[in-house]
């Protein structure tokens, strides 16, 4: 289990709120995560679990009305990002933490050349000359596997396919050798055949540069293949976090079990898929206790009332469930 001071990124007690017409919701509530250099942390959850908001919160990209980060610390390489000025934060965004977004078709400006957009950060933050920027752009495209990058660097986004565009977006993120890469559902909008290629690319780049990676996905399979550590999110809270092996061998939260039971397993003999019963959580009207309680087969009356926190139930394995002993894999 990595010590605190070795973590490149450590988020403590993060609360991100949004003021809506109907009330205030906490898209992230008391979130704790930790990522080391060279390591990949997967964040799994349904839509609305707050995982995408988490990525944006780390980069402080939360639109300020109506959202705001109301509590917590985001420690990056020792510095709390929440204490930085906006100008200092821009520097961090351009050079040390980069992000890959979900939809490659809309991530690039349609009226500007791809090469210009990939190296824009280099010119702005490193003062690289136009000629050097062009060369570096070609090199970056080559590294992400774009064929004939010298000619393609001058093309426009509408001329490329989704898979190629996502490679371009990754190239854009890799410019400047970031220490941490946030990938928000990087393969969700792509064809299944392309997904594997992109994931392999990300892992290869990580190995080469020893950067840390935060991979957000709703897809457990993706996370299982690529991540060293996993955190499961539900209704804005971390429900369970562990190494990937530990999580899949012995999940310690009913929600995690529910997720696993609802995925078809191609290898095993045909079992019935068991969807998670109940409705997705209404973030406006959450009970003070565990937000999963209404849907949990193992819940007792105090689950909905007692505020939850992450407890270490095994070395490096944390869960927010009050009664993890009630779980056995496969039980309804």
């Amino acid at each position: 289990m990595p010590e605190n001071h070795q973590a490149l990124l450590e988020v403590r007690g993060l609360v991100t709120e949004f003021s809506l017409e109907q009330g205030t919701i906490a898209a992230n509530a008391d979130v704790h995560i930790r990522v080391r250099a060279g390591q990949t942390l997967g964040i799994v959850g349904e839509s609305g679990s707050g995982k995408s908001v988490l990525c944006r919160a780390i980069l402080r990209l939360i639109p300020s009305p109506p959202g705001r980060i109301s509590a917590g610390e985001i420690l990056f390489d020792g510095t709390d990002l929440l204490t930085l000025s906006e100008a200092e934060m821009r520097r961090v965004r351009g050079t040390r933490i980069k992000m890959v977004f979900q939809n490659p078709m809309t991530s690039l400006n349609p009226v500007r050349r791809i090469g210009d957009q990939i190296t824009e950060g280099l010119s702005v933050h490193y003062g690289v000359s136009k000629r050097d920027a062009r060369d570096q752009g070609v090199e970056l495209l080559r590294r992400v596997g774009i064929p004939s990058p010298e000619s393609r660097v001058r093309e426009y986004p509408h001329q490329w396919s989704g898979g190629m565009l996502q490679r371009a977006v990754i190239a854009m993120a890799m410019a400047g050798e970031p220490q941490l890469l946030l990938a928000d559902e990087p393969t969700t909008a792509l064809d299944v055949t392309i997904q594997d290629q992109i994931l392999a690319l990300l892992l290869e780049l990580q190995e080469r540069t020893h950067m840390a990676m935060l991979l957000v996905s709703h897809d457990l399979a993706v996370v299982a293949e690529t991540c060293d550590q996993v955190a499961v999110m539900y209704a804005g809270r971390i429900m369970e976090s562990a190494s990937t092996k530990a999580l899949f061998d012995a999940p310690m939260h009913p929600y995690t079990v529910g997720l696993m039971n609802s995925i078809p397993d191609m290898g095993a003999a045909a079992e019935r898929l068991v969807p998670i019963s109940g409705q997705p959580p209404d973030l406006l009207h959450l009970a003070p206790g565990c937000p999963f309680a209404p849907r949990c087969a193992h819940a007792s009356s105090d689950c909905a009332e007692t505020p939850i926190a992450l407890n270490e139930v095994a070395p490096g394995h944390h869960t927010a469930c009050l009664y993890p002993e009630r779980i056995t894999r496969g039980a309804p």
């Binding site: 980069l59 990209l61 934060m89 821009r90 520097r91 961090v92 965004r93 351009g94 050079t95 980069k98 992000m99 977004f101 939809n103 809309t106 991530s107 690039l108 400006n109 349609p110 009226v111 500007r112 824009e120 950060g121 702005v124 933050h125 426009y156 509408h158 977006v169 854009m172």
Partner: protein, 313 residues
């Protein structure tokens, strides 16, 4: 090659519209109740003149034949002759085109100079007090009749400050700039509210796009994002707006030329209605419409330069 194909297809689309335009111009004299020749001559008509002019204008021939002669002549640049001014219409109108163009371009440039900064401020500070002030200011500005604005400016600068001449066209390029400043400013003030509203809307649409969030994640400053990303993409709808409003620009030019005594097409139109100079009115109809169509074509072509996606269609 794609450029050529695009241009050609636009030109082809213009043909039926041109036909209708010429038809309308033709009807301008055709539908006059009574005898247009008599109306043009006023009280000075006598039998022989009437007969001669009737023959010259082909009024003894059926309407269809006249229409076709009209088209054929128009295609050759001959728009008829004005009885009242005793000159070919194309000459009369021709020497005035340049003045109207100057006024319009001047007005458009000033309008953009006024509108662009206001739109940027309104978009960057949207929904905050500044934005509301700009919006309300725009509503008031849009309600100001151009003829009234023109007179106000004349009052201010003629009576008050005497900085600018209040009429005429001036000599030489800088003379024009100086004489036409007030007319141009009138048009600019009239046009700006629409421009500000449209530019602001276009910019806000762009600002909500994913790639703007991506740009922010790269650590780009708001200024850089505005100028390098937002403005460029908002230019496309802005060009649309400007070209849609060319009609209003020209309408404003008519009034402004009249008030400031500028010898352009607009003041000619007003005068010709009063003197019932139908050939001139016909010629002006065609020229005005051509003007609008060519401007729209130019706008379409400039899309090609800004946004390559257009060529795919």
């Amino acid at each position: 090659m794609q450029f050529l194909a695009y241009i050609l297809s636009r030109l082809v689309q213009m043909v039926p519209v041109l036909f209708l335009v010429v038809l309308i111009a033709f009807l301008a004299m055709e539908l006059v109740p009574g005898d247009p020749i008599m109306l043009m001559l006023g009280g000075r008509a006598n039998e022989t003149m009437l007969a001669a002019l009737h023959a010259e204008f082909g009024l003894d021939r059926p309407a269809i034949t006249r229409f076709f002669s009209f088209i054929i002549n128009a295609l050759q640049g001959d728009l008829g002759t004005s009885i009242i001014q005793r000159q070919p219409v194309s000459v009369i109108v021709g020497e005035r085109i340049e003045k109207t163009v100057f006024v319009i371009v001047y007005g458009a440039v000033l309008a953009v100079l006024v509108a662009l900064p206001l739109a940027v401020i309104a978009a960057m500070k949207h929904d905050r007090p500044v934005d509301h002030v700009i919006r309300i200011g725009g509503m008031i500005g849009m309600s100001m009749p151009p003829f009234w604005l023109a007179l106000l400016l004349i009052l201010l600068f003629g009576l008050g400050l005497g900085w600018f001449p209040i009429g005429g066209y001036g000599e030489g390029f800088f003379g024009h700039l100086w004489h036409l400043f007030l007319p141009g400013l009138t048009i600019a003030l009239f046009l700006s509210p629409i421009l500000v509203a449209s530019l602001r809307a276009a910019m806000l649409d762009v600002m909500g796009e994913d790639y703007i969030e991506v740009a922010r994640s790269k650590g780009l400053s708001p200024r850089r994002i505005m100028f390098k990303h937002v403005l460029r993409n908002a230019l496309i709808p802005a060009i649309t707006v400007l070209s849609i409003n060319i009609g209003w620009l020209l309408s404003g030019a008519v009034i402004v030329e009249y008030v400031f005594s500028i010898p352009g097409m607009g003041s000619l139109l007003v005068r010709s209605v009063g003197s019932r100079d139908y050939p001139v009115i016909q010629g002006l109809t065609v020229v005005f419409a051509l003007f609008v169509m060519l401007t729209n074509l130019a706008a379409d072509l400039s899309y090609m330069l800004v946004d390559r996606r257009v060529l795919r269609k």
